[in-house]
Amino acid sequence: MSDTILRRVRPEQFRELILVVVTLGLLAFFATQIPGYFDPRSVNRLTVGLAIPLVVAVGQVLVVLTRNIDLSVSSIVGMVAYVVGTLLTRSEALSAPLAVLLSILLGAALGAVNGLIVAYGRVPAVIATLGTLALYRVVLVEFSGARTVTTADLPDWLNDVPSATLLAVGGYDLRLVVGVALLTVILGQFALRSLPFGRRLYAIGSNPAAARTAGLPVERDVFTAFALSGALSGLAGFLFLVRFGNITVTAAQGLELQVVAAVVVGGVNIFGGSGSMIGALMGVLLIEILQQSLLRWAGISEFARDAILGLLILLAVTADAVILGRLREAWVRVRRRDQERAQAATAGVGGATHGA
C-alpha cells in the first residue's frame, strides 16, 4: 500500500471500497452460474427486494451508532403491515398518503416505547428490544384473531404500487418503492454528516460517559434514534403490505437478523460510534444479492443455503476486520513517521539556528 494513498484516505473509507469489490465479485460469479442473471426481470426482482430491508437498515444505523441495537424492528414491520392492511380492507376512505402517514406514526409510537425503556429506563437495548420483539408479535397474534389480510380485500390502488415505476431504461426499472428506500438512505446520510443530531449520535456511541459529561442530551438523542428506527420500520411495514399483499401474523419474522447482519457487514461498528448510511446500503445490497442468488442457484440444495449464507457473512466480516486492522496499523505508522520527520525537521532547523 502506497504511503501517499494512506496520507490522503482514512482506513474506514477503504471499507466501502472493499464492499464494492466483493459485491462486484459476487455478481460476476453468479452471472457465470445462473443463466439470465442480468436480464431486466431478475434485476428488477433484486432491486425491489432491497427496498424493505434497506429502509429498516437506515433506522438500525441510527440506533447502532449510539451503541444500542433495535431487535424489535421485524415485529414493528409485521404489526404495521397487518394493522394498516386491516384498516384499508375495512375503510375505503383511507387514502394513500393517509395510510403511509399512519404507518409511520404507528411505527414511531412502537419505537418510542423502545426509546423510553432504553434511554430513560436504562435497560440494555438487547434485552429491552428482545422483549418488545416478542411482545409486539404476541399483541399482533391476539389482535388478528388468526385472520389473514388478503390482496382481494385491499383497495386497487395498493395493488398497483409495487409495479409503479419512476424511471425505466431498457426494461430495467427504478420502482417507486426502491426510490423511496434510496431517498431514506440519502436523507439519513445527510442527517449523519450535516445535522447536529447526526454528529451527536457518533459522539454518544464513541463514549457515552464523555458525551454526557460534555453536556450532550444523551437520553433525548437515544430516545429519538429509537423513535426514528420505529418510524422507518413503520414505513417498511407499509412497503411490506404493498409488496406481499397477503399478510399473516408471521409477517417479516426474522427480518431483524437480516438487517443487523447487513448493517454490520456494511461496516457500522456494533459497539457504536462509527459507520455510515452508504456502508449500510452496501451491506444490504451484499446480503440481498447473496440471499436471492443462492435461492436461484440450481447447484445448491435447500439445506446448504443457510450455511453458505452464514459462512459468507462471517467471511465478509472477518476479512473486513483483518484487512482493515492492517490498514489502520499502516495508517498509524505512516502518520507517526511523518510526524517524526516533521519534528526532526523542526528540531534540525532549530539546532542550526542555535548553532549560528
Binding site: V141, A146, R147, T150, A152, R243, N246, T248, V249, T250
Partner: protein
C-alpha cells in the same frame, strides 16, 4: 366405504376380544363387538388443549371453531385451551407445550404436529403421566406417543388429488412443475409430497415432470421469494404446486405481481376465502381442501371420548361424532411400517371457478 369400515370394524373387534384380558375392557368392548357405535357421555369434565402447528393462520382458527362447536354439544364444563407457538418457534414451542401438559393437568392434548419425530419423548412422557395425545392435521410420523391420528383425508389420496389437479391444469401433454411446501419438518406436507411422487409413477401422469421441492416455512415473504426463485430457475416451468395455505397464496401473488399468470399456474391446498381472487383471475384455476371446521369438530369428539373412557383407543372401535356421523378407528394404512391408529374424516373438495365464490362466503 361405510361397508368396508364396518367389516374392518367387526374383524378388528374379534381380534380385540381375543387379545384383551377377560374383564378389563369387557364393558367398553361390548358395544364395538356388537357393531353398535359408541355414543359420547356428555357433561364430563375434561381438561383439553388444542395445539396447532402455530397460531395466526386461518385453517387452524377454523379448526378451533369446529372444536368449540363440539365442546358446546358435549357440554364439557371446562373450556379447552387454544394455544400454540409462533411460526418461527414452532418445533421447540410445541415440544414445550407437550412437556408441560401433564403438570398443567391436561387430560388430553390435540396436536397438529410440526415437529416430526422430535416431539416423541415429550409425547411419550405425557402418555405415561396420563395425558392422551390425539394428533390431527399432521401426525407423529413414527406413531410413538400418539393415541390416535384424526386424518383430514387419506394421505395417499392427497397425492393423487394433487397429481390429478396438475394433469387437469397442464393438460394431457403435461409439463414441468415444482412443489412449494411449508417447512421440511412438516409431517403432513412431507407425506403428501411422497404420496404425490408415488402417484406420478403411474403411466397416466408420465408427462408430468417434477423439477424440485422447495420450502417457504409457511411464511408469506419466504414463500413469495421461493416462488420467484422457481420462476427464475426454471424457465419452462408451467405450474407451482403448493400443498400449504400460506405457500399457495404467496406463489399466486408473486405470479400476479409479475404478470405471469398466463404462462405459469398455481395449484395445491388453499382456503377458498384467501384464494378467491386468484381463481377468478386465472392464476390458480384449481385447488383443493377439506373442512378444517369439521376436522376440529371430529378431533374434539375423539379426544373427549378417549379422555372420558368412552373410547379405549384401540383398533376397530366405532363411534358417533355428532353431526358428522359414524367413524371407526383403524390401523393407519398410510404409515404401514409403524403401529399407528387413524380416524379418517374426508372428503376432499376441489375448488375451481364454479364453486370457489360460494365456498369463500
Amino acid at each position: 366405504m361405510k361397508r368396508r369400515r364396518f367389516i374392518a370394524g367387526a374383524m378388528c373387534a374379534g381380534l380385540l376380544a381375543a387379545n384383551v384380558g377377560a374383564g378389563v375392557l369387557a364393558q367398553e368392548a361390548t358395544p364395538a363387538a356388537s357393531g353398535a357405535a359408541v355414543e359420547a357421555t356428555t357433561g364430563q369434565d375434561v381438561k383439553m388443549m388444542l395445539l396447532p402447528k402455530f397460531l395466526g393462520i386461518l385453517p387452524f382458527d377454523q379448526a378451533n371453531q369446529g372444536a368449540q362447536e363440539a365442546a358446546a354439544e358435549l357440554g364439557n364444563p371446562t373450556a379447552f385451551d387454544f394455544v400454540g407457538p409462533t411460526a418461527e418457534n414452532s418445533v421447540a414451542g410445541q415440544i414445550e407445550f407437550m412437556t408441560n401438559a401433564p403438570t398443567a393437568g391436561y387430560d388430553v392434548v390435540m396436536l397438529s404436529n410440526n415437529s416430526g419425530d422430535q416431539i416423541v419423548p415429550s409425547a411419550v412422557g405425557a402418555q405415561e403421566a396420563g395425558t392422551k395425545v390425539v394428533t390431527w392435521d399432521s401426525p407423529i410420523p413414527n406413531g410413538e406417543g400418539e393415541s390416535v391420528f384424526v386424518a383430514q383425508v387419506d394421505f395417499t389420496e392427497t397425492g393423487k388429488v394433487m397429481a390429478d389437479m396438475a394433469l387437469s391444469i397442464l393438460g394431457e401433454d403435461g409439463g414441468q412443475f415444482a412443489i412449494l411446501s411449508a417447512s421440511p419438518d412438516a409431517a403432513n406436507q412431507n407425506a403428501w409430497i411422497a404420496a404425490m411422487e408415488d402417484a406420478l409413477e403411474d403411466p397416466a401422469y408420465a408427462n408430468l415432470e417434477l423439477l424440485e421441492t422447495v420450502y417457504g416455512d409457511d411464511q408469506s415473504e419466504k414463500s413469495y421469494e421461493q416462488a420467484q426463485a422457481l420462476i427464475s430457475k426454471h424457465p419452462d416451468m408451467e405450474l407451482i404446486m403448493a400443498p400449504t395455505s400460506v405457500g399457495i397464496v404467496s406463489a399466486a401473488q408473486a405470479l400476479q405481481a409479475e404478470g405471469l399468470c398466463d404462462e405459469i399456474k398455481v395449484s395445491g391446498l388453499g382456503v377458498p376465502a384467501e384464494m378467491l381472487e386468484y381463481t377468478q383471475n386465472g392464476c390458480a384455476p384449481e385447488f383443493a381442501l377439506w373442512s378444517f371446521v369439521d376436522l376440529g369438530y371430529l378431533t374434539y369428539y375423539v379426544s373427549y371420548m378417549l379422555a372420558t373412557g368412552d373410547l379405549q383407543g384401540v383398533e376397530g372401535e366405532t363411534f358417533m361424532a355428532g353431526r358428522l356421523g359414524e367413524y371407526t378407528i383403524t390401523q393407519d394404512p398410510t404409515r404401514p411400517d409403524v403401529e399407528a391408529l387413524r380416524v379418517l374424516m374426508g372428503p376432499f373438495t376441489v375448488y375451481n371457478i364454479d364453486n370457489v365464490e360460494e365456498a369463500a362466503g
